[in-house]
């Protein structure tokens, strides 16, 4: 196992950033730390990198006890949200930095820098200053810089957070493909569940300083451990004391299924190919339901109609938590 985190605690004053966190991150995989802002995921990443000190707990990287190792000795690659480019150095110099610190021979450095710039598609910008690059290019440069030292793990802190939506999506695909090529153990922090589901092999969901669930994107989506994970990974509605996805509710115009709940359509909105309904049940619950447009047309759904709702067979369902709405 590549990164082992045991019993990690971290407070900033009164604020509990990490609360007894245990995480194991597998070698060679792309792992996402997913959670809402302020949930502690960046703090965890920075502690793994050695940029922050934990109050208690231990970190080991590739079997090496690293808890008290300074960042400079951990051999991790770190990519910052705002790139942290060395503004006074050219792109090539930025990438060469870690190798120069390690006093590698000149021609080796040159060779490696050329190789990496090719990998991140910045060869033609080698002698420019970072200020002449776009945000996406800067982040790719930062990635090359982190990869140059052949780190045992690559850590990315909201790497695409500062980029606009289109570039973010492209870089996300690109990171996935890059990882398939390079296979370095990679951990990235994100608050965007779509990004995590799309890119990661494994996702660690973190909220309020605690690990809520660890699993593959499919596991998390299909078998959420609790209400929080479920609601964070997608839309959620409640039906008869259960939390489930709006598209996992079957809607009939007659009470043909056992245990179905009667209700009236109070609102109907068509958005592209899907139709979103709000159904007011006889128990006074407001339930969101998503059906396909064809389905809605076939059943002639309209506001004011009475319908019967049932959870679809095999739907991901968790009991509704008392506190959660």
């Amino acid at each position: 196992m590549s990164i082992e985190v045991r019993g990690l605690n971290k407070n900033f004053g009164d604020f509990v950033a990490l609360d007894d966190v245990d995480v194991t991150i597998p070698t060679g995989q792309l792992t996402a730390l997913l959670g809402p802002s302020g949930g502690g995921k960046s703090t965890l990443l920075r502690i793994i990198a050695g940029l922050e000190k934990a109050d208690t707990g231990s970190v080991s990287i590739e079997g090496v006890e690293a808890t008290h190792l300074p960042a400079q000795k951990r051999n991790v690659g770190f990519v910052f949200q705002h790139y942290a480019v060395f503004k006074h150095m050219t792109v090539a110099k930025n990438v060469a930095f870690g190798l120069e610190i390690r006093k590698r021979p000149k021609d080796e450095i040159e060779h490696r820098v050329r190789e990496l710039l090719e990998l991140v598609h910045l060869s033609q910008f080698a002698h420019r200053l970072p200020s002449q690059l776009s945000g996406g290019q800067r982040q790719r440069m930062a990635l090359a810089r982190a990869l140059a030292v052949e780190p045992s793990v690559l850590l990315l802190d909201e790497p695409f957070g500062a980029l606009d939506a289109k570039v973010r999506k492209e870089l996300r695909d690109w990171l996935r493909r890059l990882h398939d090529d390079v296979h370095v153990t990679t951990v990235f922090v994100t608050h965007d569940q779509e990004e995590a589901l799309e890119v990661a092999d494994e996702i660690v969901v973190i909220n309020e300083g605690r690990v809520e669930q660890v699993g593959t994107p499919d596991q998390l989506y299909d078998e959420p451990a609790n209400d929080f994970v479920m609601s964070f990974l997608g839309e959620v509605t409640h039906l008869g004391g259960l939390a489930l996805r709006p598209h996992d509710i079957e809607l009939e115009s007659s009470p043909s299924l056992a245990g179905s709940v009667e209700g009236t359509i109070s609102r109907l909105v068509r958005i592209g190919f899907e139709v979103r309904l709000t159904v007011l049940t006889v128990d006074g619950e407001e339930v969101s339901v998503v059906v396909t447009r064809a389905h809605a047309r076939a059943q002639r759904l309209e506001e004011g109609r009475t319908v019967w709702l049932t959870p679809a067979p095999g739907a991901a369902v968790v009991p509704r938590m008392a506190a959660a709405v």
């Binding site: 910052f80 705002h82 598609h121 996406g136 695909d173």
Partner: protein
Amino acid sequence: MADTLVPEIVDAPPAEERRRPPRVRKTPVTYLMRFVVTAYLFFLVAWPVSLVATNTFANGFDSIRSLVEDPDMVVALQLSAYVAVWSVVINTLFGVGISLLLVRHEFPGKRLLNALLDIPLSVSPIVVGLALVLVYGGRNGWFGPFLLDAGFQVIFSTPGIIMATTFVALPLMIREIVPVLEEIGTEQEQAAESLGASGLQRFWRITLPSIKWGITYGVVLTLARSLGEFGAVKVVSGNVLGQTRTATLAVEEKYLNFDQQGAYATAFLLAMVSVACIVVVAIIRPKNHP
């Protein structure tokens, strides 16, 4: 190969940040203000300063020549330069140190230190001189007799002049570096750390290059201020001809001895240096702040 791996990423480099050109609505008020400001500066600064030049060269280059042929004057100019260089060196070293301390560390009394750093700018140079005499004065200062016994005379000697000059120019370097340090933040240093750079390497390779322009301005300003210090130096130097008389003291001395040509010539030299300093700053500054 790589081309198939990575699609063309559509993400253009940032266009040069375009500032909207100032829309100048030329009303009579605009011209009136322009005229008032220009006239004010002309009478207060431009004309008087230019008169020093004309007075200096009223007899051609004679006055400058007699200046550099006067051995006492040469000593005074050398002393001024020597003191200024020392003041720049000391203020640069400690200025960088204190700035790092102020920006990167939290400690009790930080706010107080930050406020006190401005004292040298707002306190009278005479008070500065007096303060140094009281502590380092050879006869009855707090530390003076002790230092004198150790064979180290501060007041009425060059170290005292250097101290006084360093004192008055102290905030200039710090006030230039602190904002730069605040702006660059710590991310670059952290990135260097994660790439394996030690503390010293981070300072030399990352921090120092980032603040080099701040330091440059600081050096220029400190130099100008140090060369020109008069009041504090007058108190601590003893003003001994050919020994502890700096160029600024010489200006006063010459003028009071009715050597107006000499006074103007010396003043002209000093003014040239300080004007050169601010012109240098004015020229290099925009490059760093696009």
